[in-house]
Symmetry: D2
Subunit: 384 residues, 4 copies
């Protein structure tokens, strides 16, 4: 009898971060994958993953629409409430042997509650990390609701133990995103034309002699400021006058502010060296990063994949605060001047360094192995 | 400008446990109380608190219906989801300066999410304790979502700190339920006739020469067994043939099983010495306990108020597992024989002992004082 | 390619009323049945149909928990809202070619909205009838949301046409409940012992020489009065001192009032000739009715099946107001005296009359035939 | 004791359509206004009305966030379900004497259910009209749920009566939107600079010598085609090369398709004579219309206000199908050629005609008068 593993993916970045684990679960003789797509992962506006998932050969068991409009903290809360209600039904009908909730996006707690309250063993991926924002609260609350912890680094493992969890149920499997990065390193050349393959909007330019990549998401607890912060970044990059590929912000309270700042800036300036994409297939994206001069923004990709790839990163603001980082990262503030200067600094770097904080590229397999063999439980007690 | 303190009460026991704090908040010159009644606290079936609250002179700002029928884990999850959605709106419209979530019932996490996701400082009462069941997960998840922790004992305070919370935001205020118990001790005589004042169903008998009190709730993760467990208890008490006041079980997955066991037992047996109540005003209830020979069941009242009052308790099963307890408590298993023998043992005890684990009777005032003066925050980071 | 027909059953009476149609859909070469159980149909308290459905050989595609506790109009509204949200997801995932909503219970509009808003052809069963209460509003609103109308009588057919619907999409198929009644008439003897087969609570008595059946549901818009109304009925029946089989009330605002009236009455009186059942398999129930002297209450069974069977009925109050009825029905008011006298009158009747208002017993087959061949649409315009 | 009138506004156009009635209710000595803003009326993306409402001096009693993202029929259904659930609570807490639901947007049925199921007298504005689409179903379902009908034309009044409603509860009050149009006619000059006052995006041009106005919303049941339809319109208007003020589409399934068509078109063409607005204060908007050469699109403004104002309209497609219209309207199809030619035709018209189908400008007062004096009911029966 195979163990039914229900994985709930709620956003594009979560999908990338779990893809090799999905593959390994699907291929494992003792496991059966039940993939549920929910929330922003279904919405074009934030980069639907439906096509990617189907291209990757996964069957989608259920689609759960649950995102409330309005780009406000109130909408975030309601989205989460709706998610609990709907996912409760999904789990009731799918009857999985375990449910996997991923990392720390606000709506991931909906998965946790729907599973834990129905006494289904809950597996939490990538707990034990530290950041700022609401993510911080959500991640550790997920840990407290979860029965089994698959963490991405040694430090994370130690923190989960300190949080009162049984050592026996904590596994450092590394992060599956590193598996993809490792795969990409086997043929790292930029073998596609970004303009042609991904369309997007904005200028087309020569990027063969180097380019920047920007990926900046709004910081939820300061959502009214997201417009202003985005303007600083836009001005800094504009001033650099360097070929730049820019990715639209994620769904989150604040994203409408950030998006509208970009739209306004495009109206009022002639951006000859900036092109905007909604998203990109992850292998292509990693190749684009690997061949870039600097990644700018606050995406976790800068901390995770880029530390493994050795790509220089300018990490803006508090969003990645507290996360372990490699030698590739230069932290900076929100002002135009800070951002501008930090990019300049990174551009002058000569050598690159690979770090293996988040695993060495076999995380998906490790995860499947744990899921196939771990003793299941849906009941636990604080260790102290 | 007074600080607006929104307290969400979701069940009768929570109301008793927070009442003196509500009073102290209402009376504090720097605080304004916004009382929200939600969930089971509005339902007759589980003992509505609406009348009590109004009699106690509190204004109810909003009533939130959110309990799904069905007495199953799925219904618990959905109730919680619905609660998040509705409470999000309530907080949006009331605009409190802080929100208080109480202890560890499953739906209390709805309050936590609705507040935390809207960046409203969240105060958690009575974290840091240890029990079995889903409560255990919920309580610590509440701690991880909360910004300010008002705990009920020294040990709880230490645990919350270990969970990675700032010492600066942890306050041992004791439990407000002890305030009421202290008040009751000033005039402890049973000054009312339970049959007359509270009606209820079942036999009427002479209770002047001693009696038992029973309060046993279903254990959520074993809800199919709740019928069987209740039957053991019913048989044990029936066999004792002693005057007994019995309180109906709480809302929880399993409660229908427990209730139906009681109904069946009443059909099939002539219970000449057992009378059943839905609930009782808390002062009356404490007097009833103080004058009883033994409290039997798994209610937290046995652990909390009874340790302060020194009433002998037979505590059945795992529900209070892990909680600190006084010398008054005798733990026992679920079988008829275990229960019967434990009650017999407690009945032979000669002297009583008071313990002050959960405060000495001024907890409500302490809580109000903290709320009036604590530095508010809605953003935090793990301490390690 | 078979047409996928999704039928949403939300309560036990609806199941009986649609069962032969389900069978006919299941057996039809051009149709595929997708049966969804929702709401009260899943709850023990109101008589779960899960076992019946499985015994009858139907596969349950999804179970949707959506009933809010509280026995109030507010809970009815919220149950409906939750139903829309959840059924929207169910239809999205099942992708039916048409959806069937049944009659006029309050939550049936949830099915209608979830289908109509997703442009799925909506079939409404048993529109065009007239009653009092919220049912009246719900039924005609269902008609206005539906694309195809399968009505149960000629008069109903005329009313739906008057409501502005295309004649081409109105079909008088009769009511499937009559199919079962017809089947039962083939072997009408009471071939089981109700006490043994269905348990229930209350006295056991000799029923061979005649008995009454009572089935009285609360009237929603007067839910505070449901306790009082039930008391009148209880007194009238008690006074008759005749063997009586009594069925517990349905879920509806008011049902807790009605149930508690019954419980109280049982506490305070020694009911030697009344036995209470939760529910009964429909064939058995019809046999019980056929062999009874009078059916008392406000159930639609008195109007429908009993007119076909020719069983004398005392129909109490406004609940069936406006419905077509046969010569078997005697209408009466809510007072004890009215009820008592009407039962007496019916008991003296000598001959019985069959009427064929709601079909002649092949309704299920007719319905399946329409569904297999009707031109589907999800878009319509008022005919005037 | 004033009658409490709760009005639920769910979108900007509904607000304009009810504004003078709100004013008249607020000023009426026997009425008290409880204004609830819900759904799209709170969202910037569709033109929030919060500022307008506050500028107009109305107090907002509650704000209800309920719109699901995703621009799909599934999201529409879920939005409605969520609306029922939340509005049920709002009405429970506000305790209005009657609730007003406006016209036929999909989510207006949420207001109807939440009120009707709680036995609150429901007033429906602007029933009895005929259109295509889901609106058609929703409008008549609202009629069947409502107790009191305030319709906008004689023909509508007749239709509501035919739908089986009591004449005694049908009132032809005209449409409040005409009140505003009448007011505007007192000083019809374009007394503001649209570019300066409303910003917007796109070219600035000389509009003093005539201009077009475009307002085209997606047609819900054909949402995949909304992109294509919008492209036809864009091409037709672009080819005309005339100064044009263009308003972004409404929230509705399909709106993302329509919006993205506009964005793409702007990317790929240099639109020197088209300027885009999100929305406009209604008086300004009516002045803009009155001074325009032609209004193009499918907005109900073309049918209502413009018939009163006598502004030539090119009405595209099926959205206004079935509505009564004045001599000012020229209906046309979706293709570029049809649209282009129809605009040309309207541009050559010499004289303008006013029609008074929807009232003569005192509708708000009439509505308040009815609400103050109508006999309230929450219970009705079909008239046939």
């Amino acid at each position: 009898m195979k163990r039914k593993v229900c994985v709930v993916v709620t956003a594009r970045p979560s999908y990338s971060r779990v893809k090799t684990a999905l593959q390994a679960i699907k291929n494992h003789p003792k496991l059966e994958l039940q993939l549920v797509l929910a929330g922003a992962s279904l919405l074009e506006r934030y980069g639907s993953v439906v096509n990617y998932v189907e291209d990757d050969g996964f069957e989608i068991k259920e689609k759960v629409f649950m995102v409330l409009e309005g780009d406000t903290p109130t909408a975030m809360a309601k989205t989460t409430g709706l998610g609990v209600t709907e996912l409760a039904n999904v789990f009731f009908n799918l009857k999985p042997d375990m449910v996997i909730t991923i990392a720390d996006r606000f709506e991931t707690i909906a998965t946790s509650i729907a599973a834990a309250y129905q006494n289904i063993p809950l597996v939490h991926l990538q707990g034990g990390e530290v950041t700022g924002n609401i993510d911080e609260k959500v991640r550790h609350a997920n840990t407290k609701l979860a029965d089994i912890h698959l963490v991405a680094s040694e430090l994370a493992s130690k923190r989960v133990k300190k949080l009162g969890e049984d050592e026996e149920y904590i596994f450092n499997t590394g992060c599956p995103s590193i598996d993809i990065a490792k795969e990409v390193l086997k043929s790292p050349k930029l073998d596609f034309d970004p303009f042609e393959k991904y369309g997007g909007v904005g200028a087309r330019f020569n990027y063969k002699d180097g380019y920047l990549v920007v990926m900046q998401h709004p910081v939820t607890t300061e959502y009214t400021k997201s417009k202003e912060q985005m303007n600083h970044l836009l001005n800094a990059v504009y001033k650099l006058d360097t070929p730049t590929f820019w990715f639209w912000p994620n769904v989150d309270a604040g994203s409408d502010g950030a998006s509208s700042a970009i739209r306004k800036f495009r109206e009022n300036n002639d951006l000859k060296k900036i092109h905007f994409f909604k998203n990109m297939e992850s292998n292509d994206f990693l190749r684009l990063l690997f061949n870039s001069n600097v990644l700018i923004g606050n995406s976790s990709v800068g901390i995770r994949e880029c530390s493994f790839l050795g790509v220089p990163v300018v990490n803006i603001g508090t969003r990645q605060y507290g996360r372990e980082r490699g030698r590739n990262v230069l932290d900076t503030g929100y002002t135009e001047a800070e951002i501008y200067n930090s990019i300049k600094t990174q551009l002058t770097k000569v050598s690159r360094h690979q770090d293996f904080i988040f695993g060495s590229g076999n995380s998906g397999l490790k995860i499947a192995e744990v899921l196939a063999n771990v003793k299941l439980r849906s009941h636990k007690t604080l260790t102290y």
